[in-house]
Amino acid sequence: MEIVYNGELDPRLCKAVLGEEIPAILEEDPNVVYLDADLMACIGTGKYAKNNPARAIDCGIAEANMVGVACGLASAGFKPIVHTFGPFASRRCFDQVFLSAGYAKNDITVIGTDPGVTATMNGGTHMPFEDMALYRTIPTATVIDVTDPNCLKSVLRQCVDRPGVKYIRVGRKQYAKVYADGSDLPIGKAVTLREGSDIVLFASGIMVHEAMKAAETLAQEGIQAAVVDCFTVKPLDAEAVESWARKTGAAVVCENHSRHGGLYSAVLEVLAEKCPVPAACVAVEDEFGEVGPQGYLQERFGLTAEHVVSQAKAVLARKG
């Protein structure tokens, strides 16, 4: 694994990565099956599915059934990858994922695309700020908030062979490039992207980029902020969280998700028991989503580097 962050976007769209990786995995492993709910065209898998309908299964717009079918296939020893948009991959089929997959121990990988504000023009109905919160409540589930295309490639292959319910949330568009091509990012291990002694910024998903920008701004003002990529929201790397909290004594958690139940909650659960330090979040307040370009939505919900900077300063003031 190599960190190559320089603030620039990775030229690849994540939907293109999914469109290449899912067929590649299907070709490599005859036990993998892929199910979609009429959104194959959104991630570029439609052409492959047309030629391989037996293992690339379009289930129509019926997510609850799709999850159940995937679980039935899992019981026969298959390794299903299920895709739909984030809200339908979480809220719409939650009981099916919880029981037919989790409780019944039918292991499946669910990809929810366009989490949080990355849903942009599809608007509030399609904008899950609560998907990680829901999935975190499923015992033994794995919850991933993708950092960049290379993170996506690495975690997708791990998830396919990992036991339990695995949920991967990823936007279909571009991310800032953080990891070098071919990077291996072990699930459950947070990655320190930047060292710092005054405060730690725990971030996931699109907020990694905002946290890195914020750390740069803070550095210019003499504040040394560490940045830790918590792409595995569950199981959270509790050791890394505790260790950075001890080193810095202050934390800001940055996520493209509600402040309730996601990465902020996960980090606070660790801090409360292991190392209580002043903390705050840059996350969506108790609100529903709305329509608009991503830049507007990030401003609207405070998911910006500027907000990270101001929250960091507010926390430092409480550090004493």
């Binding site: 039935g72 296939l73 026969a76 099916q96």
Partner: protein
């Protein structure tokens, strides 16, 4: 089917009823009505139709059962115990702490249970996936799916039906337990669902209506499903909720009932007499 085999299947159904009552009595109450209504189909499935091996419950190319009305667990457990999947005495652990026999079927707990069910509707999609998996593996096996009529209020049932037809799952046999009652009373009062035969036909199923408490009729209907012809099968089983124990059948609200020691003794004695006659 020969008269001898009919008598054997009838006797097996009576034994399943006795076993289910044994289990429910051990904990004092349970889902007795819907357990009794499917005893006959379980007898035909496990006594005649299914290709299974109790010594190898997870044999990949076995026929599979999904009891999507998972609360009928006691009838399934009775059947499995009688087939030798686990000791008969274990039926008396139903719902007791640490049991392998929970109210609702659990594939990770009970030897011979092929799928976990309980949240109504979910078993239908699971069965579709299992049937599809068998096809992908090239197995000739069938998946039998027992669905409650009350359960079919759930939209997921109909999502699964459209899926099964769309994908040509002709190794899937849906068995609707049309016992006309649900928890709150008569199904036509609670939530009328209309004509099930017409519904399944319009969804693209090869559909028949049979007396679901008649082992001969069930055996004939199930025999038709041995060779798939591109469509999933639906067998609408006209049943009586509580069939086989008149006192239960006569109780309108018989979804879940307490079973007293006195009732247990009396009903078991009645069923034993019935069994003796069949085996006579």
């Amino acid at each position: 089917m020969e008269e001898r085999e009919v008598r054997e299947l009838k006797a097996f159904a009576v034994q399943i009823r006795m076993a289910a009552i044994e289990a429910i009595h051990s904990i004092g109450s349970g889902h007795i009505g819907g357990a009794l209504s499917i005893a006959d189909v379980l007898a035909v499935l496990y006594g005649r139709e299914m290709d299974i091996d109790p010594a190898d419950p997870r044999k990949p190319d076995r026929d599979k059962l999904v009891c999507s009305k998972g609360h009928a667990g006691p009838a399934v457990y009775g059947t499995l115990a009688l087939k030798g999947y686990f000791p008969y005495e274990e039926l008396k652990t139903l719902n007791h702490p640490g049991t392998r026999l929970p109210s609702h079927c659990d594939r990770n707990k009970t030897p011979g249970v092929d799928m976990t069910t309980g949240s109504l509707g979910q078993g239908t999609s699971l069965a579709c996936g299992m049937a599809m998996g068998d096809k992908l593996r090239g197995y000739k096996s069938r998946t039998f799916l027992i669905v409650g009529d009350g359960e079919s209020d759930e939209g997921q049932v109909w999502e699964a039906c459209s899926f099964a037809a769309a994908k040509g799952l002709d190794n899937l046999v849906l068995l609707l337990d049309w016992n006309k009652k649900q928890l709150d009373g008569w199904a036509d009062d609670v939530y009328p669902m209309g004509d099930y035969v017409a519904k399944f036909e319009s969804f693209g199923f090869d559909t028949v209506l049979v007396n679901g408490n008649d082992v001969s009729a069930l055996a004939a209907a199930l025999e038709r499903t041995r060779e798939g012809k591109g469509k999933p099968f639906a067998i609408v089983m006209d049943t009586v909720k509580g069939f086989g124990v008149q006192e239960v059948a006569d109780t309108v609200m018989n979804h879940s009932l307490p079973v007293s020691d006195e009732q247990y003794e009396r009903w078991t004695a009645q069923l034993k007499a019935e069994l003796a006659e069949l085996e006579g």
